[in-house]
């Protein structure tokens, strides 16, 4: 078990190290989410109200996540490193978990930029909303890493990834928006936790089949 976690840690560290060197994904995500929020200000008509703004926050988060997910498996594709990892790991799900954790770290950094900006531009975010962001981010990265690996095996992957990801992200948007605006956020947070549990387990178990023949 600790060997498995050691593998996961080594793989996640590798991704963090790569990003620190290349510095292409994180700044792009942070800038993208900021720009999107500004666009939303102009896209929202005058009397729109806070609820609409919360909805748009979630749109911004999902599309920012897509930006990060599109680049998630690129280092593995450059010189065939994914094959190397598949050969070297005893349990291939460790590859998925390492990648999910690293992607989650990147998304968290982007959110550290987005959430204060949102609170500044639009409306305040309470504890329930933040909890919703945390839970939904886990689901986004868990499912997103798997789906991104599928797209990486295909032609036209830049176009394919959003098509694969968005239907799966709909429940997360519902949970996230609900936890932001509903007077009873508890059930939305519980739903997000349920989504995370179901799809994380599914992704964890299915990853092996996505990267092997």
């Amino acid at each position: 078990m600790s060997a498995y976690l050691g593998d996961v840690a080594a793989l996640a560290r590798k991704d963090l190290r790569l990003e620190l060197r290349a510095r292409d994904t994180l700044p792009a995500m942070a800038l993208f989410v900021l720009a999107t929020l500004v666009v939303f200000h102009f896209a929202l008509p005058g009397g729109a109200g806070d609820d609409a703004a919360y909805g748009l926050l979630w749109v911004a988060l999902v599309f920012t996540a897509l930006l990060g997910l599109a680049r998630a498996w690129v280092p593995e594709g450059e010189a065939g490193a994914l094959d190397g990892l598949v050969l070297a790991t005893s349990d291939r799900s460790a590859i998925w978990l390492g990648k999910t954790l690293a992607t989650l770290a990147f998304l968290a950094v982007a959110e550290l930029v987005a959430l204060p900006a949102f609170a500044l531009f639009f409306a305040r975010l309470d504890g329930a909303a933040l909890a919703g962001v945390v839970l939904a981010s886990i689901g986004i990265c868990a499912v997103g890493s798997l789906v991104s690996a599928m797209a990486a095996a295909a032609r036209g992957r830049e176009v394919l990834l959003p098509l694969l990801f968005l239907p799966l992200a709909i429940p997360l948007v519902v949970g996230g928006v609900g936890s932001s605006i509903s007077p009873e956020p508890g059930k939305y947070l519980a739903f997000l936790a349920l989504y995370d549990a179901v799809f994380a387990i599914l992704s964890w178990a299915a990853f092996e089949y996505v990267v092997t023949e």
């Binding site: 590798k14 290349a22 010189a79 065939g80 190397g84 050969l87 023949e213």
Partner: protein, 222 residues
């Protein structure tokens, strides 16, 4: 009708297979291997047996399926039909493919350290240092792979393949990307590890590896 026929040849040149060895310990047993992608057949009717300590040379023109066969031997591809038994654990197999299987933006040392961890190589640091030295990469160990020449990258790939001291080495045209010095280093290393290891090498220059081959397999384009 089989399109891949094993021809036992060579006198073993002291590489340990054949006369002196105990027969019967077979590392790879392939029977009627077939590989197709959709309707397109890439391999058909490949059968052979490779005993411990044997060295199989796979030859054939481009497109004959050498790479596909070698990928099947390490488990990166699955045969469509036929049976393939490999009596070696996945963690004891070393592979060099068409791509170096490394991260371009990590240094040589970082790449090998990652693989060393994943393969649970004992005394990882020492072994990495030893291999980098053996393949002439010690000075470049802290450089990113993106700065390497093609020959250096291939040498790193070889370090990666030998890192965990594999019982079975599957090398897909390992000489092709190497510079002259690298070729010498590889041949030296192969000669050294030959004793206890089983080897499968593909090449389109059979003469180069004839010395250590105990068997050869010629594939044809389908």
């Amino acid at each position: 009708m089989p399109l891949g026929v094993v021809v036992s040849g060579g006198d073993g040149q002291g590489t340990g297979c054949g006369a002196g060895r105990e027969p019967g310990l077979v590392v790879i047993r392939a029977a009627g291997l077939e590989k197709r992608y959709g309707a397109r057949a890439v391999l058909r009717g490949v059968s052979f047996e490779l005993p411990v300590g044997g060295a199989l040379v796979v030859t054939g023109p481009n497109g004959a399926g050498k790479t596909t066969l070698l990928r099947m031997l390490v488990g990166l591809a699955a045969p469509t039909r036929g049976s393939l038994e490999i009596d070696v654990e996945r963690s004891r197999v070393g592979f060099v493919g068409h791509e170096p299987l490394v991260y371009r933006e990590l240094t040589a040392l970082e790449n090998l350290d990652l693989y060393g961890r994943l393969y649970r190589v004992p005394e990882r640091r020492e072994r990495i240092g030893m291999l980098l030295g053996r393949f002439g990469l010690w000075e470049a160990r802290n450089q990113r792979v993106s700065a390497f020449s093609r020959g250096m990258t291939q040498r790193l790939a070889l370090c990666r393949a030998f890192l965990h001291d594999p019982e079975l080495l599957v090398l897909d045209e390992p000489h092709s990307a190497l510079d002259a010095e690298g070729v010498v280093l590889l041949d030296d290393e192969l000669a050294t590890v030959r004793r206890e290891r089983t080897l499968v090498v593909s090449t389109h220059e059979p003469g180069r590896v004839a010395a250590l081959a105990t068997a050869s397999l010629a594939l044809e384009r389908l």
